[in-house]
Point group: C2
Chain length 323, copies 2
Amino acid sequence: MHVLILGAAGMIGRRLTAALVAAGRVGNDPLTGLTLVDVVRPEAPAGFAGPVRVEAADLSAPGAAAAALKERPGIVFHLAAVVSGEAEADMDLGYRVNLDGTRLLFEAIRALSEAEGYRPRVVFTSSLAVFGQPLPPVIGDDFIPAPASSYGVQKAMGELLLADYSRRGFLDGIGLRLPTICVRPGKPNKAASGFFSGILREPLAGLPAVLPVPDTVRHWFASPGAATGFLLHAAGLDLSGLGTRRTFTMPGISATVAEEIEALRRAAGADAVALIRREPDPAIMRIIETWPEAFDTRTADALGFEADASFDAILAQHIAESR
Amino acid sequence: MHVLILGAAGMIGRRLTAALVAAGRVGNDPLTGLTLVDVVRPEAPAGFAGPVRVEAADLSAPGAAAAALKERPGIVFHLAAVVSGEAEADMDLGYRVNLDGTRLLFEAIRALSEAEGYRPRVVFTSSLAVFGQPLPPVIGDDFIPAPASSYGVQKAMGELLLADYSRRGFLDGIGLRLPTICVRPGKPNKAASGFFSGILREPLAGLPAVLPVPDTVRHWFASPGAATGFLLHAAGLDLSGLGTRRTFTMPGISATVAEEIEALRRAAGADAVALIRREPDPAIMRIIETWPEAFDTRTADALGFEADASFDAILAQHIAESR
């Protein structure tokens, strides 16, 4: 099975590539080749004997999607997206990449489907950003996507396209709304959500971290390992029993900031916790308080998707990988 | 207030035009002019002294949206769409008109908004076709749009675009999911839903009608007059209290086929009812049984949208207009 990863240079794309190569298989099939595409040229993975093609390409450019499908991959991971803040700041860019790029990909697959009977599994990453206020405390699988950002709108539109192209038989799609990734590796950034990881990652490295919201803030989390696991699981699932709904919120850990901090205390002690400095930021609080707190993910659960075992497990994964 | 109607030649567009001219006002403002656009040239209304421009135009053609906005209408009624069956049969046409046409309209408004501060009220007609199985017996305002047709997908995507362009302040949008229109005037047609009107309209004209489904089938109805009333009401509403959700299911009458028939009996007697011939059609039944039966429309109710008083009132409207 040849695998195409669009957005292969990102954090999840790189982990997914490594996990596929380590497993040597995808779903029930041996991994026979890889095409890795991103706006910056992805790195070819070490330790894989099969053919690997790496390309720097903009999926919204004419012909780019068809070129990416040259090997007729049996599985397409579509992770490529302009992120939330950028899609809000540059409306044209967000719609071009997140909406038009996705539509052009599905249209390129449709063209091959009509010409050759091609019908790949497409695994599309969506986002909790499809949900907007007012929200119930626990959001079920029937809850309306009503986004409060252009990024969320573009992801919700991608979900609808994925369902329609699947229903028509051009592709066999599944969309995953990923929880907020925690602990996100790397440097602190300006994302409103950055502190959820920062208050763990920085103290674990002996560095101070700022907490801009109250301890009572609750959110929905998955480790990078769990997120990669969702993608791998989605690649191998039998989707023939699904109806027209094709995108599902992934299971996660619902945790408050206080619970994050207690996990840090258990893992690294009071000295680590003491590195967290409370600096309430009303601007960040206004953003965060519109976000979902918890989900009832029974459809994804029934499909066999598995959350992290606990917030302690999320933290332990980060500690193990930071060594 | 200058008013633009896109899709002005359709059944609802013609009624809306006549209702605006009869009222001489729209919302709280006098009606000062009309631009009527459709793929076929709409008729100019009689009895209106102000300027009227009628155009045959394809909204998905380059420049068509900007041309339609020449008078900078304060209110844009966007009723233009390729209908459900046609959008399913011709996928490219449906996406081009229903998705691209809507997006091009909103982009043309955005360009004027950024250049001149233009910000019209946009009233967009969506559809119950945004909902797909599995459905609860009564569908609330929080229920997920998960369409089972390309038409439904295109309308759901239009709802998302309307919300995003409203949130960003380029336009002041409201979307109305119209109930199934009953009694639809005109000839019997091949639409799966045709019998809902046919079993009333034909017997009232002394003609036989075919009923292809059981008497127990339940659905959600509005008269042509109520639908026009929703549009007029939407034009004048203060929407400043709305959040990011901008499209709402309109109130309707939930009625079974048996209740339709009893209304016909009350209005026109047993001889009319005897003209209904039961010819069960499993193909039509399979389509109809996936459709919604009833809605909880509390958001639209709170906004002051009003359903017909009863199914008898729906029938009485048709009888009065047929004289």
